[in-house]
């Protein structure tokens, strides 16, 4: 459980600041166990182990065990008219009340996948079930229970916010009062404004409001915070968390890694239409090495440090002055390097110590797949 609370050490000018990252602990007992086992079998002197660990890329069925799967995707494929395979056989499931994030670079297949889950198109292969139904063929059974926020608005430019909401409410079973959802996303004062006059962020929030109108059991959010400023993004995150507390299942796509890290109970990283890694954010990053970097003063070289393997380092690069170390034992490596620096009287500039993050995993996957291709 401690991995997510690792201290971040920063050196600002000459003063050393140690800040504890107050991130919520999402890891479960099952996860801690597998992480411990992973660390235990990991020899520290072999750079080959900088590759992702065994948990990456394997679906974590344990977390959904005993719960109802609200979304089930099996070997899903999507092929566009020109023959382009956007989705090449992906499998995952989302349990009731979970927040599940689909991550990926542009063109990885996120939107193509979500559109199949929303029932906007029929898959070229495989199976989708949302609340036990085929969202494409059994539209009438699924739609009243889902809310959808598309990547781009799709509202007539000449209608006002209130007119748009009224129209959507008239098309929604058991709709909440329009004013209530507009209030929820902070658009209450814009009710008389035409959609064309809204900013990009306001349009995203209108889209979110309409997705929430029918009190959906399952919410699909395709890049919900793209175009929002930092504050709007935090507001949206808080809203999504409140929805989860109320039992809503949320599937979202994003290319903001911190969004997935903060919000998602589980996630899948898509790369070229396939799932490259999946699990809890901690699991996906677990197989990734942590990083430490610093700059050596003049006259000092990498070779002056104690043997790297003794420090638990599994990989390194250096351009002479700046040293970058990769390790699965961040505390051991950092302690050893800092102790060495103190004894040797060396000032390490630009000291940066960070535990494995999704960014690490994300970039690693892109690189590995690029190298494999």
């Amino acid at each position: 459980m401690v991995e997510r609370n690792l201290a971040k050490v920063e050196v600002a000018s000459s003063s050393l600041v140690v800040r504890s990252m107050e991130t919520p602990v999402i890891a479960t007992g099952v996860f801690s166990l597998s992480r411990a086992a992973l660390t235990f079998v990991m020899p520290s002197d072999d750079t080959a182990h900088c590759r992702p660990g065994p948990s990456a890329g394997i679906l974590d069925v344990m977390h959904t065990h005993g719960h109802e799967n609200v979304i089930e995707v099996t070997d899903l494929k999507r092929v566009y008219g020109g023959g382009f395979e956007a989705v090449r056989g992906i499998t995952f499931s989302v349990a009731r009340g979970e927040i599940f994030a689909l991550l990926g670079t542009n063109g990885a297949g996120k939107t193509s996948t979500v559109e199949l889950l929303e029932g906007l198109a029929a898959p070229a292969g495989g199976r989708v079930r949302v609340l036990g139904h085929d969202p494409y063929r059994e539209r009438a059974a699924v739609r009243p229970r889902t809310g959808v926020m598309l990547q781009e608005g799709g509202f007539p430019a000449e209608l006002t916010v209130a007119e748009t909401a009224r129209m959507w409410a008239g098309c929604t079973t058991g709709a909440r009062p329009e004013a209530e959802v507009l209030e929820l996303v902070g658009l209450a004062d814009k009710h008389a404004v035409r959609v064309k006059q809204l900013s990009g962020g306001e349009r995203r929030r209108l889209d979110l409001a309409l997705a929430l109108l029918g009190d959906p059991e399952v919410l699909f959010l395709d890049e919900p915070t793209t175009g929002l400023d930092a504050e709007g993004r935090r507001d949206t995150w808080a809203l999504v968390r409140r929805l989860r507390e109320a039992g809503t299942t949320v599937l979202l796509t994003t290319h903001y890694l911190e969004e997935a890290e903060d919000l998602a109970d589980r996630l899948a990283i898509l790369h070229e239409g396939r799932i490259a890694a999946s699990g809890t954010p901690a699991e996906v990053t677990a197989g990734r090495p942590s990083r430490m970097s610093f700059e050596l003063p003049d006259g000092w070289f990498l070779g002056d440090l104690p043997p790297l393997t003794d420090l638990g380092v599994c990989g390194h690069e250096s351009d002479g002055r700046v040293v970058r170390l990769r390790t699965f034992e961040l505390q051991r490596t950092a302690t050893a390097v800092l102790l060495w620096a103190e004894r040797a009287g060396v000032e390490l500039r630009g000291l940066d110590v960070r535990s494995a993050s999704l960014e690490e995993a994300f970039l690693g996957i892109a690189q590995e797949q690029g190298a494999a291709a």
């Binding site: 929303e118 029932g119 906007l120 539209r139 009438a140 739609r143 009243p144 959808v148 598309l150 781009e152 608005g153 799709g154 509202f155 007539p156 430019a157 000449e158 209608l159 007119e163 748009t164 009224r166 129209m167 959507w168 409410a169 008239g170 098309c171 929604t172 079973t173």
Partner: protein, 262 residues
Amino acid sequence: MSSPAPGTLAPSARRLRALARAELTLLGRNRGVVFTALVVPLALPFSVRPALDQMDLRKQGISIGAAMLTAAIGFSLLFAVYTSLVNAYVARREELVLKRLRTGELSDPEILTGTALPAMTLGLAQALLLCAGCALLLDAGAPKAPYLTLLGLVAGLVLSAALAALTASFTRTVESGQVTALPLVFVSMIGSGIMFPTEVMPEKLASVCELLPLSPAIRLVRAGWTGQLSVSEALGTLATALAWTLVAVFAVRRWFRWEPRR
């Protein structure tokens, strides 16, 4: 696309009303479309009047009033319903509105119908007003078989909307809609008896023109006034209208594009 089960009619009507209401608001805010829809059907019949005067319509049993009324209703179908709906369908698709609507509870037929309702209502209101106006002002007299006129109006409205959806299927932008809508407009104006009654054409040509999409509607509307249509003729005309409607609905289900091409 399944047919509504019992008990779903009320929600369906509620959805249609909500969509139609929004679409009516949009129609009212599009000045170009409003102008075309309201003014053209009223103004154009007067431009064809000199031509009508030179034709020997009396011999066909058609009064100038009835001929002008038919022209006005025909123009109303073409401009207030058909072209304005091509515009609406394409604009909603390009704005991704149709895609957004499909993520909700509306069925595909509901989306297309709800979008069409305001224009169809406008067309119907216009036609009824024209009928009343002609009966009172243009000495066209009272219709001899008003039910035929009404049947013709319904057939014309439904087919105009269906053909608009079909035209929108292969129209990429609102601007190109001004071109893709032209063939039907021209063919109907000349061949379907809108600008002048098909009765003045050579017989062979007339019998071919009777098979054009909007010909049955126009023929029924005029027959309602003149009363010159036997039961078997009326049924044949209705069958043609029905066949076109079925073809258009099938083609729309098969080829309608819900999202812009990328």
